[in-house]
Amino acid sequence: MTSNTNIQNGKATTVKTTFSRETSVGIEIKADAPIVWALLTNASDYPRWNSTVISIEGDIASGGQIRLKSTLDPKRTFKLRIKTFEPERKMAWGDGQGNRVYTLTDRGNGMLSFYMHEKIGGLMFPLYAKYIPPFDQSFEQFAADLKREAEIIANTKN
């Protein structure tokens, strides 16, 4: 199990087993949690700041459903359900094949740890594993985009 206490400074890691694959990335962000949370939960705004997302339709809210198009597989639309929604702390979306979890941890002094983890797998995983592209680069880009955007917002003139 990957721990989110070890922040990876924006470098993604992937752990593979026969029946699953887990990718995670963590990064320190100098911004308040409400700003990062707002960025993570405003579906229609994603393409403006996140270069890994083509579009997200739907509501990122407790029990909500979204349709996500990612640059990883632009022709495919992922239909995902919001499975965890704890404001300014934790959010998860996923489908039958996997879940992605976002975690925010307040580090004090205006610093925040962002951690993103996705596990895909199941009994049939070995059959389709080779068709799923690696996530590492996309995860690193996601974390870097989030950090850049959140810190720009946090530095808005008062």
């Binding site: 911004a31 949690a33 409400p34 700003i35 403006r48 720009i152 917002i153 946090a154 808005t156 008062n158």
Partner: protein, 267 residues
């Protein structure tokens, strides 16, 4: 706090309050009502004013709460509002006849590109989510500080910063794509088209050279151009300017068109 002090402050900011509410509701009638309601509510609640903010911030808080609850504020327009309304105007002969009558007879019937830039900002900012529009207006047009805006809309400073940044980014992007004054590829030429109709003898370039934003268009970055646009908006009182009658008539037209458009598309 004495009523007399409140009255003085209210009169001092009445113009700003009116234009603020107009920019949220796009309705002259709603604006008149809401300014009156803000005054009455302020007088009624004067005893509860604890001087935790300036009186101006407190009055804007009352006005914002009243305005946010109106249907017209809740109705959000679309980014291509000027296209939709232009198409409707082109098939509405009465609109141009009325506008031309205002142009010829009203002391506030001038057509000025600067005024139209402010008018256009009002229309397009109504395509933003309401919180973003309110934050953007309060910061960029009425020059409130982030902590004051947080008091006005009862949220955290972090959220105000988020609304401001996202609202501003969207507006920069929309104007970059649409406004031919700052981008040769921009799809909207309404300023120059209307100037040609209302000021047929005026040379467009001579009019444009007086507008810093248009002058700087080729060399300045999009953020700076947006700042210059905001400078234009800040300098215009939509009720008192030389073009007020013409622009308010146009705004009423656009509001009616957009209300019909939204109703039709909601079905």
């Amino acid at each position: 706090m004495f009523t007399e002090q409140f009255n003085q402050e209210f009169e001092a900011i009445r113009g700003q309050l009116k234009s603020y509410i107009l920019r949220i509701t796009a309705s002259v009638a709603d604006t008149e009502d809401l300014v009156q309601d803000t005054y009455l509510k302020g007088v009624e609640k004067l005893d509860s004013f604890r001087e935790e903010s300036s009186l101006k911030t407190w009055i804007f808080t009352i006005a914002s709460n009243l305005a946010k609850d109106t249907l017209r504020a809740k109705k959000r327009w679309t980014e291509n509002v000027t296209d939709i309304c232009k198409e409707a105007a082109m098939s509405n002969q009465a609109f141009f006849q009325e506008a031309m009558h205002i142009r010829m007879t009203s002391p506030q019937g001038q057509f000025e590109i600067r005024e139209h830039i402010a008018f256009c900002f009002t229309c397009i900012s109504k395509s933003l989510p309401l919180e973003q529009q309110i934050c953007l207006l309060l910061k960029e047009v009425y020059e409130f500080k982030v902590h004051e805006i947080a008091q006005i809309i009862a949220t955290t400073e972090a959220m105000v910063k988020y609304y401001l940044h996202t609202g501003r980014s969207k507006m920069v992007q929309i104007f970059e794509g649409r406004c031919a004054l700052i981008n040769k590829e921009g799809v909207c030429h309404q300023c120059s088209e209307l100037n040609g109709i209302f000021n047929p003898k005026q040379k467009l370039q001579e009019a444009l050279v007086k507008i810093e934003m248009a002058k700087e268009a080729q060399k300045a970055d999009r953020e700076h151009l947006f700042n210059l646009r905001m400078q234009v908006v800040r300098g215009i009182d939509p009720f008192e300017s030389d073009a007020a009658a013409l622009q308010l008539h146009h705004l009423e037209h656009n509001r009616v068109v957009m209300e019909r458009y939204l109703e039709k598309n909601a079905e």
